[in-house]
């Protein structure tokens, strides 16, 4: 259970950890692994040193890449791609499409994304709806079709041109002829031929699966130029490549390193990059889905939920895309709140643009993201001490824990009669429990002054647990304030490694494997050796030679 950082699952963690006081003896106290150490299979016993892992020899000339499965476009990618393809003013709704399955709070894991009859219904219904709307809108139709529907060869031109954008490659003559023949034979009338083509293309596996296959079906393969264009566009914009990018690829202008770098710069400079990565920050930090606190909190109203999300959206956006040092988001003294949220936090009113310099005396001063209510409050159900400690290590240090089944099996047997404080104390003394709890509970205790909604409550007594606030992974663990915790965290190299690993996941739809270690290390180095610029991190991931490779599973 400890390996799942999604907001809801995080709420389950405390149970397990709290109950771990009842662990039997003679068992490993816990298993821990971290994606910060690519290649780890997560089955090692006991707390591992985070951020480490065996160092690979990355000086070898041959780049490598971990195995991957064919990716189905995610619901978000589908939505953004439709907006571009059909030149819609806004992204279309996804009402009829099943939501993507989530894992570890991320919606991007290839392995859990499927295609079912219900998906196909949704895709078909959406294609029918959008096709009908397109044909009824003369202006947009002219732009998307590029010709009048009744003009000679208009259908063939459309199939050729639109098909290239939808399938992210030029269609073969056979594909074009076969689709045209069907449309002419089976569509109801001339206009329906275009709708027919749209239905086929927007439901086709050539559209739904990202066939970035390279030159060999098995083993290691080099991507073609158009496949690289596609992969770059999805990685940075979360959508299909533009006609211009495909043109470059087909013209041989997306092969040399500087050509790729130029294309990457253009992608990064477009607002679509920023908008796609808003999803990354929500999934990484775990605030995409917030729920009201389960117990009463003074001053709470549900209308605060969007305000809380907006605060973290704004701060991550600013530090990722505003030319700033991204890690400063962990310690910044500035935030972006509306008046309602400022009041809830007990802060002075923000400026007209929402920006606010936090007074030095305030508990939130210099705590950056760590005291955002969206992050503290997402964990609204359960034992906050264990949850928050585990969440912080999992999110920023990529340290996962898993209670061994044999220990989990005994949970609950010895609990009766223990108070909450006794449980926390007990689990930090018992051999089989403290290996894990002693690295998470001191963090959680340090944040225990914040209630379930993320509001600081000066009446909460954090000394009753008898555990001193500390970040046990840090060289000098003890801290007296959240600002100090933030500062210690900010200085840990594991944070950059972890962020890189999470960005790798968002880009690739899978966690880094052993073969990706050099890629991740290089990207992390490019990030931390310079100015911790978030775009640099993405540059490192997508400009690495391994990005142009594919290894089938």
């Amino acid at each position: 259970m400890l390996s799942h950082p999604s907001p809801t699952l995080r709420r389950a963690l405390p149970l397990l950890l709290a109950l771990a006081t009842a662990c039997g003896s003679g068992e490993p106290s816990g298993a821990e692994s971290g994606p910060a150490a690519p290649g780890s299979d997560g089955t090692g016993g006991g707390p591992a040193t985070s951020g480490g892992g065996p160092s690979a020899d990355c000086s070898a000339v041959n780049a490598d890449v971990g195995p991957s499965l064919l990716r189905r476009i995610t619901a978000a990618e589908y939505q953004l791609t439709l907006q571009d393809l059909l030149q819609l003013p806004a992204a279309p709704s996804l009402d009829d499409l099943p939501a993507d399955t989530e894992k570890d709070g991320f919606k991007v894991f290839t392995e859990v994304q499927t295609v079912s009859a219900q998906h196909l219904r949704g895709y078909l219904a959406k294609a029918q709806e959008l096709g009908a709307a397109l044909m009824a809108d003369a202006t947009r139709r002219a732009r998307v079709l590029g010709c009048e529907p009744d003009a000679p060869a208009c259908l063939r031109d459309f199939v050729t041109r639109f098909g290239r954008l939808a399938y992210r490659r030029a269609l073969s003559q056979t594909e074009i002829d076969s689709l045209l023949a069907r449309a002419e034979k089976d569509a109801l009338d001339a206009a329906d031929r275009f709708r027919f083509v749209l239905e086929v293309m927007l439901t086709s596996p050539a559209f739904l699966y990202r066939a970035e296959l390279g030159d060999a079906p098995e083993g290691l393969a080099a991507l073609t130029a158009t496949e690289l264009a596609s992969k770059l566009s999805f990685a940075i914009w979360g959508r299909s490549p533009s006609a211009e990018l495909l043109d470059l690829a087909e013209q041989g202008k997306l092969a040399a390193d500087q050509d790729v770098a130029g294309a990457v710069e253009r992608l990064l400079a477009d607002p679509r990059a920023e908008s796609f990565y808003a999803g990354f920050f929500r999934q990484w930090l775990g605030y995409d889905l917030l729920r009201p606190p389960t117990s009463e909190v003074r001053g709470w109203e549900d209308a605060l939920l969007p305000s809380l999300q907006a605060e973290t959206d704004a701060v991550t956006r600013q530090y990722a895309w505003g030319g700033l040092n991204f890690l400063d988001a962990l310690t910044t003294n500035r935030t972006q709140v509306d008046a309602k949220l400022a009041t809830f936090y007990g802060l002075p009113a923000p400026g007209a643009d929402g920006s606010l310099e936090i007074p030095a005396s305030h508990v939130r001063a210099n705590t950056g993201l760590l005291t955002h209510g969206s992050l503290l409050g997402a964990k609204s159900d359960g034992d906050l001490i264990a949850i928050r400690g585990n969440w912080l290590r999992q999110t920023f240090l990529c340290s996962k824990m898993q209670v061994p089944p044999s220990v989990a099996e005994q949970l609950g047997e010895l609990l009766v009669g223990l108070t909450r404080v006794q449980i926390v104390k007990e689990r930090n003394m018992r051999t089989e429990c403290k290996a894990c709890h002693s690295v998470i509970d001191p963090i959680g205790v340090g944040l225990a002054g914040f209630d379930r909604a993320g509001r600081f409550d000066a009446t909460l007594d954090i000394t009753e647990f008898g555990i001193a606030p500390a970040l046990p992974d840090a060289p000098s663990p003890a801290f007296d304030s959240v600002a100090e915790l933030a500062s210690k965290l900010r200085e840990m190299p594991q944070v950059s490694a972890c962020l890189t690993s999470r960005a790798f996941l968002y880009v690739n739809g899978r966690e880094p494997a052993a073969a990706d270690q050099c890629t991740v290390q290089a990207a992390e180095h490019g990030f931390s050796a310079k100015t911790n610029s978030f775009p640099d991190l993405l540059r490192g991931l997508v400009q690495d030679r391994s990005f142009r490779l594919r290894r089938s599973q």
Binding site: M1, H4, T8, A12, P14, L15, L16, L19, G42, L69, L70, D95, D96, P98, T101, E102, K103, V112, T114, V115, S116, A117, Q118, R121, Q128, E175, R182, D186, A187, L188, D192, F196, E199, V200, T203, P205, A206, L208, Y209, A211, P217, E218, G219, R291, T294, S295, D381, G382, D383, E409, L411, G412, E413, L415, G417, L418, T419, R420, S552, Q553
Partner: protein, 456 residues
């Protein structure tokens, strides 16, 4: 509430709307063979276990007077909120006590493992083999359009929390989380009623051609793929084939009526009720024979819409999860903290009985609806095996032993009105028994493996 429309009208309507929306192709009407041995399976999942001491009946016949506290509403109950009064149903239910799920589900609060008899993989939350419903789906589908339906009243999309049905290879089943969407799928949106047959035929042909075209694209793609990717995109072809069947399979059912479209929104309770009503209609129309319904994930559901218990025993705003933890967990109803220990324990126990009774009443509602639908050979309940299940046994301790299992209905000649002691027999044994009921030769099943429980 249900608008009764002659079956022919329903089917004609469904057949007449090929252009928009989607592919509601003409489904030829099938006269349901009177002799056809129709069998159905429904799994009803409600999280957070129970208090086994107050749930498990002693082995032997169930009677109105020997029902344990948690099951007493199987003797009938009054209406509450959106739920109608329901008569006694204990004679249609057999309790199976003492099932040990801990070898299969090595983690706490794992709805994804609730219908699995095989130990989880990938962080313990993915069934490596098809879940029970999936195992049965191929066998029971017959000529019905929908191989199975997976319904969940929770918006939770996490793989471990928001899913209970998995296909082979750990492929998570697509879950329908919206009653309105399910209604649209099963019964169609507003449809043009009068369309000449020739026009209909053209539309059927057109839409079939769209599907044929994407199948050609699929074949072209497969030709370029390695083995692992070929296996992955096999699910696309499977999906197309299932969709075709949905759109063309004949439907029948002597009690088929179409309901009013449900409203969207609502909480777990109202969504679950809409799902129950729709799944019963889907069964009545013989659109499917296998359904799973997840009432909630582990955390969310509460009883704020209901007045249950009074004074200190009132459930108030506390979530089912918190109530299940009684006194000693950090996830507990803290309003009992200051009380005398004995009194606090009494109240915490009473609250778990109250939530367990609520859960059983919702299960009973499903059974009663199934029983109300007559079929050529009896009622839907006679054709069905309906299983109540949870992710934990004792909600307080998270133990996956002593699972709250109820089996209802009479599929395969299942005998009800009993309590069967299956003490410390594992989930594999339970599933082996159920599979045997459905005609599978299953001397042993699951991992860890179990042999069929005697008397099931």
């Amino acid at each position: 509430m249900a608008i009764h429309i002659p079956r022919r009208t329903l089917l004609r309507g469904a057949g007449a709307c090929l252009a928009l929306p989607l592919l509601e192709a003409m489904r030829p009407q099938r006269a349901l063979a009177q002799s056809e041995n129709v069998q159905r399976f429904i799994a009803f999942f409600y999280p957070n276990g129970t208090d086994p001491r107050k749930w498990n009946p002693v082995a032997g016949a169930l009677t109105a007077s020997n029902l344990p506290e948690c099951l007493q509403d199987l003797n009938g109950f009054a209406a509450e909120g959106i739920w109608p009064a329901t008569p006694a149903l204990f004679q249609d239910v057999t309790a199976v006590t003492g099932i040990d799920h801990s070898g299969v589900c090595v983690d706490i609060h794992m709805p994804s493992m609730a219908l699995s008899a095989h130990k989880g993989v990938a962080n313990n939350y993915t069934p490596p083999e098809p879940t029970l419903d999936q195992y049965l789906a191929d066998q029971l589908q017959g000529t019905t359009p929908y191989r199975n339906l997976a319904l969940a009243a929770t918006d939770e999309k996490d793989i471990g929390q928001g899913n209970i049905s998995f296909r082979k290879g750990g492929q998570v089943e697509t879950v329908n989380r919206s009653p309105k969407q399910l209604f649209d799928t099963l019964f169609g949106k507003a449809m043009p009623s009068a369309m000449p047959d020739a026009e209909q035929a053209k539309r059927v042909k057109r839409n079939q051609s769209v599907l044929d075209a994407v199948k050609e694209d699929h074949a072209r793609l497969v030709a370029r793929l390695g083995k692992a990717d070929q296996q992955r995109v096999a699910q696309y072809l499977e999906a197309i084939n299932e969709l075709e069947k949905q759109l063309t399979a004949p439907t029948g059912g002597s009690s088929c009526t179409t309901p009013a479209a449900p409203t969207s929104g609502g909480n777990w309770h109202s969504k679950s009720k809409q799902f129950i009503d729709l799944l019963v209609l889907a069964m009545a129309c013989d659109l499917t024979r296998v359904v799973t319904l997840q009432y909630s994930n582990s955390w969310g559901v509460d009883y704020q819409d209901y007045t249950i218990g009074s004074g200190k025993e009132s459930l108030g705003k506390w979530s089912d999860h918190f109530i299940s933890h009684k006194l000693d967990d950090t996830d507990r109803a803290t309003d009992l903290d200051g009380l005398d220990r004995t009194e606090a324990q009494r109240i915490a126990d009473a609250r778990v009985v109250a939530t367990s009774r609520f859960k059983v009443r919702r299960f009973a509602y499903l059974l009663d609806r199934l029983k109300s639908v007559t079929t050529p050979t009896g009622t839907l309940l006679d054709e069905s095996l309906v299983m109540y299940c949870s992710e934990n046994g004792d909600g307080d301790s998270h133990a996956r032993k002593n699972m709250p299992i109820l089996l209802a209905g009479h599929a395969g000649g299942f005998k009800t009105g009993r309590s069967v002691a299956a003490t410390n027999q594992n989930t594999g044994a339970l599933h082996a028994s159920i599979l045997t009921r459905f005609g599978f030769e299953t001397p042993s099943y699951g991992s860890p493996a179990g042999k069929p429980v005697a008397d099931i």
